[in-house]
Symmetry: D2
Subunit: 319 residues, 4 copies
């Protein structure tokens, strides 16, 4: 292997740039070249790429987003698009691909793997919901963005003795909401992984009030319901007035935290190792602080498991 | 004057605590005592207050919100409530009041002034919309909170080449939206002070696209319309797809910036000077870097004027 | 056990307050009371403490430092001081103690354990150097403080094409320097755990220059040598001019990151479990994401092991 | 005028990039082109520059440092170097120059002006010490960097009840130290503009202790003496033990605050206006919120005046 390519795909996550940097630099150490593909699979299909040398990835370790851009590419599900992309790569002397993204991005990579083009995946999503790895690039940054926002909201909640609902990202996975509720000291948290009864939330609020708590913050993952809908239910069922804050897209951006940068560095370096070892169709991950690689299909066939001991902890600490 | 009281009223703003601290410390220098009233005019009415010594305001200069809490008190518009409050104050030996808040808070103070109870107002609101002063406590912090959020959103906008609408606070005043659009490099800004035609916004977006701009951010003050409504209009009138982010309540919180802390220090100290000079019914303010005091009624009778040269600047720079 | 006490000891670390909060709230769930001891072992000796109810630990989860203060207490090494403290505790009905601090703090606790007074330790230090746990409270926050400072310094280094030396904390342990070098993309890192030759550092700098790198940042752990000394050696041995920045005490402060708050929540809750299970002389820790408790003496008899795979990674990525 | 050039010179300051962006965009509005000169006057002399179009200054408004780099160029004091630079500019069709930097940078510009080459200066330095303008680009950001660091140090100071000395930048001007002392609530501040007696500082410390203050922070501008020297004097004269923190180079970096970005936008836009109006040898500035332009030589012939009412305020509030 003399030359590999790299692309970012799916929703962007802080730390993607740090991972790109790590791949380029580790490849340099190993004596191979890296082509940076623009716009994800769309760029792969069209051979839209450029050589990335060490200097080209200088000064990006601290930047959110992705220098290589990301894009949806529905037609990449079709064989012709994959074939065309592989042809473009071979033409340019590219023998392997590193894909940085979520499980959707892995599906595209597996299509290439089945056609004999070596691919390795690096998990990056703020949702932390990729099976096979305990952490994904971007989760820690998004989590800190959430708690900084909640800290600000708490200032107002405390001053006015209000009840706030904060809606955070997480369509299928409650990790962000759950960790944030522990870290921000929320009064209650609602996540997809735990069945939820409005009566329980009301009981927690009333209990807090009974012991003198005059302000409160409830965190809800968007996958369960919107903050507005939760507000409606609390009003309708118990006459409780709340204010709603939807954190929105800023959760995807920002300079990556130290943990995300270190993780990106480790993943990027290891992905090059895996490719050079002649493996293909592997995703890199971290389990108990050890780098691992595993069959990429596991990432979209299995289900991500949230650490529910944190749910118990959240409940205990929000007494 | 041997003893004065202080309260915070209306929406909270970062720097209120720094202002409380300044009032207490300046009063100490002048040899007078300060009572801290809890929950705004409600606490005034009920005499709910405590002595604040220098040590009691230690470690709060950097904190958002207000240590004295804030609350609405609709009944304070009635004479009996005002009389009751004045009686409570006199009973406790309190001869004057510093009110930290917005123009609504000044109305309550003027009712007391008319009944012969000396009051001085300190302008604090993130909206920067109090006539008679060029800056209010909390504006600079809110502005920085907004641009930090927009910086994060830009990471995602850039990576995915999307068009984002960011809705910021500002019911009647566009200062926050306007300054933020210059500081964050927005592609367009919509504020209450400038008539707005959806066609112009569309033209700006198209023009940006024409010159190769692939992502864009539009900032809208909530007082004009919601971000969602703007998105609907862009879709309906020109088929433009956008994503909407409503920054919400976090704009009111957070550790105050240096400017807000310095302003709070100056205002707090000067408010004590004004009270001790035997003046009443005065609001403190800053004009061309000079501390001023002026008739409080000016603050709610006049209209706040936004610096519209910034609107021209925003338009020029978002070419 | 009906009543326990808690103290913070040694150097403060961000997240100590979150741990205090967790202990108080978990204890409440378990139906026991918590006394907060002021000034570490000095307060223990003198019985200087107060009852902490759930409301007393509200609004502290996000604050750096320690609400209970910390202090050195050299006389606590003597038996009389320990006996006096135990007597004070028994008098107040306190049956057990949670100590939040570093390995030095554990030594004091073990003296009490040997006299039959149940103690449990929670590891908190920005140095991450307590044997038996992979992470300590405060490390993640300090690490992010360091990389934010280095990001700022890089702005200047890049603009002026300078070589900077950044000295970070770490007397015996290089974790902070090592993780920071990976996360901040430093050109070289010098830590106590890896033998260091000035020639190698010079070679790395020259090599970077040779490939066009015009600015560079070297991170050195204070335990190896001061930044100033390193600058002197580079000047003397190779005529290389550098600028030195010593990050200093700000590394100990700041609002804790999400990871430190979650860790503090888990440790605090688990420490109560351990005490209530009738165990004593145990330190809580985290290994491979699992909470563990182990003999406190291990923490000061063994040596902390830094993850040196990161050193290799740092070297590869700083090519 | 069809084409102008821009350079950054001297110490970098946050907001320089925002100013470059503003110049390029305002020029575009006016229908003229902008060449970006690399490495300050060195690049001017060598004609090292590139065309900057609107897209080239996208995504830099939020970045510290300067995209155009800065460098010392001692030989630019000599006529040949100036002549050579002017020749290079004329060759490239460049008719005017915008210089972003400090008063040292203005001297170089004045040499060009005297030779008939039109120049306009934009004040950018974290020291805020350029006569003729009340604010310079970078000051507000540096000030916030300082108070965030002091906030962190205060966490530790409070927990351990220590006395800290914080040394901040400011060789000739005390603005940064002075504003920071008000904003951070320091116990004393030492600046070049106010004569300083060690006895007074000692008295303030003792007085604080007497009223129960257990921790304290003293801010000293580097221009008066180093933090270490101050520590030595306090030890020697009064046996007072302190800890010293030197904030150092990170004060120059970081993402610019809203105020600095707005100021940069206004200055950049106005500088283009001034050049196009056919003026030369003018510096832009802001006085009482109004943009002004004035003879550049005033900036280095006059002396910057610090607002000493803040010194009185600092003294009052640190009682």
């Amino acid at each position: 292997m003399k030359k590999i390519a790299i692309l970012t795909s799916g929703g962007d996550a802080p730390g993607m740039n740090a991972a790109i940097r790590a791949v380029v630099r580790k490849a340099k150490v190993e004596g191979i070249e890296v082509m940076g593909i623009y716009y994800g699979y769309e760029g792969f299909m069209e051979g839209n790429m450029t050589l990335l040398d060490v200097g080209d990835v200088g000064g990006i370790i601290q930047r959110g987003g992705t220098k290589l851009y990301s894009a949806r590419c529905p037609q990449f599900k079709e064989a012709y698009a994959q074939d065309q992309g592989i042809a473009k790569m071979k033409e340019a002397g590219v023998d392997g691909l590193v894909v940085i993204g979520g499980d959707g991005s892995y599906r595209g990579a597996m299509d290439l793997v089945r056609k004999g083009f070596p691919c390795v995946g690096i998990p990056a999503t703020i949702d932390n919901d990729i099976p096979g790895t305990q952490y994904t690039i971007g989760f820690d940054t998004a989590l800190n963005t959430v708690i900084e926002a909640v800290d600000k909201i708490r200032d107002t909640a405390t001053s006015h003795e209000n009840l706030f609902i904060v809606e955070v990202m997480g369509r299928d996975a409650g990790d962000l909401a759950l960790y944030a509720s522990v870290a921000a000291g929320a009064g209650a948290v609602i996540i997809p992984e735990v069945d939820f009864m409005i009566e329980d939330v009301i009981a927690r609020i009333k209990q807090g009030e009974a012991r003198g708590k005059k302000h409160n913050i409830i965190i809800v993952a968007e996958g369960v319901m919107s903050g507005t809908e939760l507000a409606r239910q609390l009003k309708e069922n118990a006459g409780i007035t709340t204010r709603v804050s939807v954190l929105g897209h800023m959760q995807r951006g920002g300079s990556p935290t130290a943990q995300d940068r270190v993780l990106a560095g480790r993943f990027g370096s290891y992905a090059v190792d895996v490719l050079l070892a002649g493996k293909s169709g592997r995703a890199v991950g971290i389990r108990n602080h050890q780098l691992v690689d595993y069959d990429m299909t596991e990432a979209f066939k299995n289900e991500h498991k949230t650490d529910l001991t944190l749910y118990t902890l959240a409940t205990d600490l929000s007494i």
